[in-house]
Symmetry: D2
Subunit: 352 residues, 4 copies
């Protein structure tokens, strides 16, 4: 139950199970999808069914994890900004200590910089355990900012966030330097499953992926992204598990890659910026807590393992929905027909 | 109440009132914000307070509205694709009739095309009344696709969606060609209000906007976007009013522009891609319906006027939250302190 | 001969002939390539050889042509900017007359706008005959600006160029709205030619194109572009024919699309922004004039036909070089070996 | 003189001197500009005049330098690709040795990776002394590729260039990770010089920069770039000094930042991707060699110092032209008038 008098009660269904393997989770899991777009449920369910018919299911590989915050400083000129960068590089150990003193969980991983005229943008990267880390990173950056401004009198405060972070904005930097969990979900689907469950062929899906997701998105002026609808699945799981769902903006930047391998379909979804946690704002609401428990994301005490498990499940869920829609779009008319049919049946069921 | 047994009950509060004027709405309105990030409420509330202290309040101008869908076709070669484009241009009246025959509300506004090798991408643009128009546009495009494929035997079906639409993806095309409501929200804040309510100066906000939103986002590799956190406000209103919140991906692409005018602060948020409706999926859920009624977005029978009113309110809400955060970031430490303070007080209140 | 005492004498060779067909040129032409990168010559020559072995050669389709300039104005607010846009739409005939009065050749095709806060960006599109049209468009825009500022007293001058044009910058707008010649070059290469002349297979080229040009460029954060090295060929022909070669910046944004068709290779280069002319700055230098004559680009009096012929030749030249490099990169080590071998032989020949 | 029978003789003039200081060069230098666009000469000359009237002249800071090449590999799956990345990280010393064994000058600085499905993109970064380093980087990457493919039998060759490099393409990766010389050029111009030489005010230039270069480019869908015409100046110096001028594509991505400081104008040009060298292809042509000598770029034996000097000069030249055009565009009509006037006078002089 929700503790607030008022709430936006987003309809939620459990779909699955999805068969999973990889470096963060092995086994079958149901996933909760909260959405106003009911056709999403059968769409993901079809993908989940496919996963159960494949040898390794969906293989989810967590490639990286980190949370970032960039601060903005003004120097007397670019030369002074460059000198500050060198001072920071040499004093790395002190910076790590500043972070450790402020937070039990945050750990400084890396500092990147950009100099524009006399402006200095510093991008701090942190390990943040099972938290998505927004607040932890801001808190740690605040401490680093204090420390730097005290030590380097020639620098002036610009902003605690310089938009080189980048939070909830679709940019290139997060994919290139990393932010959130970087997860690749892959599946190899035997030809007979492609035919019987997806009603298409590997060749048709691979061709559509090139034309629509790669060429079509390029034409549209997309940035570091090539997929059909990652945002739909992300939103639904984020809402169901108490995540800051505004992070679907960068989370939905990812690349679908498909190949016809002698009739079998290799299909993968690469999501470099899944920003989720199992603790923090939203995760303690009763329903979110219950959903995280049912997902097995409260099961271990190893810092970060619960969040990595969740990220792997999310990437697999995205693959299920992406695969299903792509298969549908290889067939003229199927998409619309299935939308209409499902929404009509939903209306009957729920009296919408 | 929600008709589903299960739901993600996203905490919701009404904030305001916001003082508004412009070509879609005049007067004061409270706005509902559903979010797991509770600091958003006082942040928007501060902006709303500012709006009530300014002569015209926030002036929201609806510049354009349309919904789009792109289809993908394959021609024998680029020359044949070009011939098809010319045939479509000459047969414009027939295409409008095809759309009118399929839908009572959708009206064909424009057709754009892109030719890549032998691939032909057609982007249909529709007026869709008070609906956001996803399904209406897909249905109409499906009809157009049938019509074209029947008439031009040399073309082959590629996809009912070619990603040149573009739905729920951050690209350049929507801002350049239009998709959803294009709304500009502006305010001129007297110097004494900037000082007393926002605790900053017009010069500081304008300077921060250039350095963070414009230069910082450029550095990050952003695409057609320059703002601090539009996504947060959009998500909260979208969830509260039954919108397809995955559309915050493109909705959050917008530009904040601020100027110091002799101490007064000119501050504007331009949101070219607000994709919302007052009818359709999600809007009939009890709470969404009630919220739309309270917003005055069920009040008129003029097609499109309710949705324009909603879009104007949303743009103004975005301005409130953007203004408040930008003001906060001009002051070292304020952001973090206010987050911590508010979250602590929330915990006391709601027992999180 | 060059009339200046000093010059940068860029080495030039004629390569070809390239076999061409399409809507702007039919027949075989040699092309002049001025470059400091000598391996470009044999690379394009190999592609030209391929073209002569295919039935229709390279088919070049000129899809569109226009030149643009955007001006920037400031209005009292967004509402006033919108009113100005409506005034311009209604007074379209007068605007055409303003352009016609200023220039014998420029003709107003279209006006696009963007409103950001109180700023109004107008993008004028012109037909400019055989000129690339930079100056013609600026002159006409200047006249339009005068006319608008005189008629609408509430608007203030911002800039004669507002960067929404966009000239010599890599952006999305030119590809979406059009600027310069939009040309598609296509070829279908029989399997035996792919094997004997390009030492590869259609499948290998198509696969590499997806992985490198589409996925690789997406990863790099490219914008509306997916190719291996269009810039090299463009620069070489632009310099050889007196073009403003800084326009390779947007000219090199284009998409290579390749497919394996039962062993035959479908290969296309789509270049939406070839900004070239056969008259104007640079084209009257003795060598440029001579080169344009030899290309057959001084042969007709039909306005625009010479420039379209040149654009078609350039797109075909780009295809030759792109095809050759892509084929080479399917084979480990070939690229480097051919570079080293050719540069060594060049050194022997020219005593570099 | 040129050793080739044929050449594109691009008109060249020396402009200046430009007054310079910073970490790579101090003093005054004339610069050679080869261009078909003659108005560029007086434009840069005006900026050079301004530089001589300012205390430190133009301060050019070389922030970074490196050359890159990305290779593309295919792994059995993402997990195997991740294992390969870890193997490379642990075996860093061996990789450095492989590079050292292949080249006297190249030194491995950094390896970055991207995993997309089962594809592995590796981006190698090298120090390359006074060479721009294209060939050196390709040669070294070729050696690394051989080494990796031999050691890790599960990987397959994809391409020696995976477009994540990125060469001669406008992307985000080069600015974020670095490629070529990263140079910031800055100047502080006293108010009276802004008025007397540039006929404008600091406030007007700063305002125009925000509206045109930052907002206008954002509207156009630009990527990591905000300037008026860097490409023009880069092309002219690149051609005059034997550079591979196709590198203006990424070189022209940079940010102009201007501020009004109590009437004085702070003006800076940040160019993160100046890809130039003083040795290698093109630099041995007689005129290029002579020009490099006159620029003082053959004067020292310290590896890299000549190329850094050249990069600093180029950034300063870009600033001169950018400043001059921006000042002109603050005044209605000046741009066109100066173009027409200058071209007419050029015609008289050279008999064009």
């Amino acid at each position: 139950m929700n503790q607030y008098q008022e709430a936006a009660a987003v309809p939620l269904r459990w779909v699955g199970p999805i068969a999973l393997s990889g470096n963060a989770i092995t086994g079958e899991v149901d996933v909760p999808l909260a959405t106003y777009e009911s056709p999403l449920w059968p769409s993901v369910a079809r993908g989940a069914k496919v996963s159960r018919l494949c040898e390794r299911g969906i293989v989810a590989t967590v490639v990286d994890e980190r949370m970032t915050r960039s601060v903005l400083l003004q120097a007397p000129d670019a030369g002074a900004a460059l000198a500050a960068v060198r001072w920071l590089t040499e004093g790395r150990a002190e910076l790590e200590a500043v972070v450790a003193a402020r937070s039990r969980f945050a750990r400084l991983l890396e500092i990147r910089h950009q100099i524009v005229g006399d402006l200095l943008f510093l991008r701090f990267e942190f390990a943040t355990g099972d938290a998505s880390g927004h607040n932890m990173a801001t808190l740690a950056s605040d401490a680093l900012l204090d420390y730097i401004l005290t030590a380097l009198a020639q620098l002036r405060y610009g902003s605690v966030s310089g938009n080189f972070c980048t939070d909830k904005k679709a940019t290139a930097v997060n994919g290139i330097l990393g932010r959130g969990k970087n997860v690749v979900a892959e599946i190899v689907i035997p030809a007979h499953v492609v035919g019987s469950t997806l009603h298409t062929t590997a060749a048709a899906v691979a061709e559509l992926n090139v034309r629509k997701n790669l060429i079509g998105t390029t034409l549209a002026g997309g940035i570091r992204s090539a997929n059909a609808h990652y945002a739909n699945m992300l939103l639904a799981v984020y809402l169901a598990t108490g995540q800051d769902a505004a992070n679907i903006v960068e989370g939905s930047q990812g690349i679908t890659h498909a190949e016809d391998r002698d009739g079998a379909l290799y299909f993968s979804c690469t999501l470099p910026n899944i920003i989720v946690g199992t603790i923090g704002n939203g995760k303690n609401l009763d329903f979110a807590d219950a959903n995280l428990i049912r997902l097995g994301c409260r099961a271990t005490a190893e810092p970060g393992a619960n969040a990595r498990r969740l990220a792997a499940i999310i990437a697999a869920t995205v693959l299920c929905g992406e695969l299903s829609l792509m298969a549908a779009q290889t067939n003229p008319g199927e998409l619309m027909r299935s939308h209409i049919r499902f929404e009509r049946s939903m209306e009957e069921v729920v009296g919408q």
